[in-house]
Symmetry: C2
Subunit: 575 residues, 2 copies
């Protein structure tokens, strides 16, 4: 591409409304422009990147045996009523009416449409397993779209769906898709983790999210320093500390702690470590509709956080989790919430695994303004039930026993689910099995946020000068920057020759051929746009038989002999 | 692709609701499925064709210097209010509201969005001319969607827009785009005509439609047998007959024609040729708002049709064209409409070029139940004004003087416009010219119905067995049909070897490897889907060292030596 016939559209100023770095740089590098809240136009440079991501995604989906289809953006309400989601789905589902007042929606996802298609196209187990995908425009009416194309309302997504006659077959395809996803993110060149995820409202039995690790991520990901283990912090198991519980020889004593209520207050007042104390939280237990819920005490180490998702999944605890009111606690347990503790607790008590491993710890005395110190489990207080109640923290032992956990922020760019029969049952998608009996199909679904990947790649790869594209998705592989091309025939000829020669070999080259452009401005644009390789060609260098080369991540430039230039460059373009 | 891992989805029955052949065949060949009125899912076979069309379109747009962008499907109302189209555009524009009750529409076209983008990105004449295109999902809420993807509500379109500082520059890009369009349809392999078109409601000065010739087309296209001249019948000029007007020596006579009112009645009654008579139509002339419109008589040859578009463009005639009421004609001209004629006509009379070339013709006598025969212009009646008033008919001289006109039905698959400043002026899209003065840009717009091309290609290329794809857009280039592949190792090996070898050379091959599929059913599928080449490989042929080949359009199959098979096939795949 010649810059003189291209829309570079770079900007010096950082736009006011762009908070995250990818949004800022994608605007400044002339990749996207805002049309309206959560609606973006992809300019030529951005679209080049988007298309390269799409291409890698398509190649790996094809390789995984999925067939590409294209379903409409606009979907009829009837199908969503069949699945039950017309009512369930929140206002992110943009419901619209056509000129005949029939109800439709803009598709945020396509489970209903694909299930409707497959129930009429596939009727025998012999046609299974079968997988389908599309790369398509989706719409979700986010209440607060933000971060540019990271959380836009209209975006490009690859969504795939698989159909099976058995759970084993589903698991097999799920594993293939998991592998294809890894291959996609490996090829794009991102630092990512496949993490165990909650199946949430979509339901089903197993789910992984694929997260690109970056500061601006909205999720906390726990992953092992030594193995492939990774999970959303919400889901990561906090394993029991290893070894025997220590024994403290200190006697249990009551300490007067007037006005000290929080762990921080008490620890400072008693000059102790929060990790050497426990906190006691009171939640509601399960009950029949017309009964008053019983109270249950949860005991955690003072420096740990309750994981509500884990708690509400436990037998006997109400789901969703509800904390007891201060009033009920005062009435029934006779103290304020800052003085609760396991010793003498009259209600069922569940102790977190780490709290259960303490000895000589501090806890509330179940009496206002008093705490106990030197408490030992067994000696001073019994416990009947130990569970995993807390969020993992950095340094915890990895649940698979290999290494310890690190926690980083992640941007979710992919999500795969084993849906089971959630949609196929409500929509009656069946096949005849080998005995001629009708069987409801099992389904998997597999999503990738194609446009979000572009933003995530920028979040992970940039410096003060701009974007540093992974080679596989860079808008151009090479920029040729001439010095005074309009004045020097030698420079012009050399540039044109190299440009045409590399283009004919399928290399994406940007020739900065705008007359009167200043060298500094051109180099700044090339760095901002994030082109992986650039050369500067000028009379002075050519006289010596050299051109200046700099890789986007290099700190220094180098000189290459003109005679070997093409050869060296072609070597660098190899992925 | 292996049929065993593919969704062939062919159907024997012709669906009831499909009227045109392309709709029937696209459903039967497993290319598309209806989701809802005017909404279709593209199955794998259909999508393969669509993508090949898209690819050719992209390559030619790139070659024409247009830059690809991607604009949102959902567009904010404000821009449409700026251009004035929020009110003007009919109910085909699907207006929607988001969760915050802001107004948006589903984009049926993108003039507003691109003009908004370019007015902020381009501000100097030095950046012009510039062209942008996108291949994107469009939505038009057709009142009666029909003919499958031919007139769907959601469809894929390539739309391009160009920006200029002068009309000359616009004309230059317009000509380049015209050439690119021809290149696109040539490469796809369609019989098409670029035709002069009305600029209609979009406005602007010049416009061409690109029509694929096919019986089921909705437009009548007139084109020369000997030159490139082609125009919508509405617009094609009917030139004056060549040579001197003949002279008839027969005397003018009054004939009693009781009850004979139409040209057909009168011609039969008088045993004459309708082409030897004239008909007289009375329309309203232009007038001030508070005046009564004058009457004007239009005289055409009895076998010709009035072209209302031509008539209403004439000076003195009201636009849109309005016919005078029978009552007014009776009151002011003293006879019924079946007896009108130019002789003695008291109002302004405009004579069509062909009618003006008659001699010894028949016309109404302006007296009920009487006609005149043997009328000569000049001798019996004067005329002051001759104009082109009629639709062209087959056999007319081509307006460019080369050959005569043929008329065929056409399917509009492309449309290019010189918009001038229609959008740039209302949206204030200006640049600074070479003198530093603000100038409103000129615009061109260029559309191609990508999904409609697929349907049009089927309309033009099919037989009783199914589709006959032009090679460039066929879903597969070759089908390999084995006989008893599951029983014969030799057949299996030969098929697998050829399949892998051709695939590795980039050929799209469909291997019909489903066990237990009957040969007849497989061959019927291959013909229905329209694969250009197919070979049958069986034990009996292999024993003799041959396989059977048949091109989709061939009437007979041939035998090819196995030893030369790949070579011969590769030669056939060359486009």
């Amino acid at each position: 591409m010649r810059a003189s016939r291209y829309l570079i559209a770079t900007q010096k100023e950082t736009p006011n409304d762009a908070v995250v770095i990818s949004h800022q740089l994608m605007l400044r590098a002339g990749m996207i422009r805002r049309l309206s809240s959560g609606l973006y136009t992809w300019l030529p440079t951005g679209l080049r990147v988007l298309r390269k991501v799409e291409r890698i995604v398509r190649e790996e989906m094809d390789r995984a045996g999925a067939l590409e289809v294209l379903m409409p953006v606009v979907q009829p309400a009837e199908l969503w009523e069949e699945s039950g989601r017309w009512q369930q789905y929140g206002p992110e589902l943009l419901r619209i009416q056509d000129r005949h007042n029939n109800d439709f929606c803009l598709g945020p996802t396509h489970e209903e449409v694909i299930t409707d298609l497959i129930r009429s196209e596939i009727n025998s187990y012999k046609q299974l397993p079968a997988s389908f995908y599309q790369v398509q425009t989706k719409f979700r009416d986010e209440i607060r779209p933000r971060f540019g194309v990271m959380r836009a309302r209209e975006f490009t997504m690859k969504d795939a769906y698989s159909f099976h006659v058995s759970e084993d077959s589903l698991q097999e395809t799920y594993d293939i898709m998991h592998g294809a996803y890894c291959q996609i993110f490996d090829r794009i060149g991102l630092d990512y983790r496949p993490v165990l995820a909650d199946t949430g409202s979509i339901g089903g039995s197993s789910s992984h999210e694929f997260h690109v690790l970056a500061q601006s991520g909205e999720d906390d990901i726990a992953f092992s320093t030594e193995s492939r283990y990774a999970a959303n912090v919400e889901l990561a198991e906090a394993v029991s500390p290893s070894g025997e519980r220590p024994v403290s020889s200190v006697e249990m004593q009551e300490a007067h702690t007037p006005g000290q209520k929080t762990i921080a207050d008490v620890s400072e007042f008693l000059k102790s470590d929060p990790a050497q104390s426990v906190k006691t939280l009171i939640v509601l237990g399960e009950c029949e509709e017309d009964e008053i819920a019983p109270l249950i005490a949860l005991v955690l180490r003072g420096d740990h956080e309750l994981n509500e998702l884990k708690a509400e999944k436990l037998t006997g605890i109400a789901s969703p989790l509800q904390f007891a009111s201060e009033q009920r606690i005062g009435n029934e347990l006779n103290c304020n919430i800052g003085s609760l503790g396991p010793v003498g607790m009259k209600i069922e008590t569940i102790v977190d695994r780490s709290a259960a491993h303490l000895a000589g710890f501090i806890c509330g005395a179940n009496r206002d303004d008093f705490h106990l110190t030197g408490v030992n489990w067994g000696r001073d207080v019994e416990f009947s039930r130990v569970e995993d109640l807390r969020n993992v923290v950095a340094g915890d032992i990895s649940p698979d026993g290999q290494g310890t956990l690190e926690i980083k922020r992640g941007i979710e760019v992919g999500h795969i689910f084993q849906l089971g029969d959630k949609y196929s049952r409500s929509m009656n998608a069946t096949v005849l099995d080998e005995n001629g009996k009708e069987r409801v199909m099992s389904m998997g679904c597999y999503g990738i946020g194609v446009s979000r990947i572009v933003a995530a790649a920028v979040e992970q790869n940039h410096d003060d000068s701009g974007i540093i594209w992974p080679a596989a998705i860079a808008p151009f592989q090479l920029a040729i920057v001439p010095i005074n091309m309009h004045k020097s025939d030698v420079v012009r000829e050399k540039c044109e020759h190299l440009y045409e020669s590399l283009r004919s070999k399928g290399i994406d080259v940007l020739l900065m051929d705008e007359t009167k452009a200043r060298l500094g401005a051109m180099l700044a644009d090339v760095e901002l746009i994030g082109i992986p390789h650039r050369i500067v060609i000028g009379d002075r260098g050519l006289d010596k038989g050299v051109v200046e080369y700099k890789g986007r991540g290099d700190s220094e430039s180098q000189e290459f002999a003109v005679s070997q230039l093409e050869e060296i460059l072609l070597e660098k373009f190899k992925l």
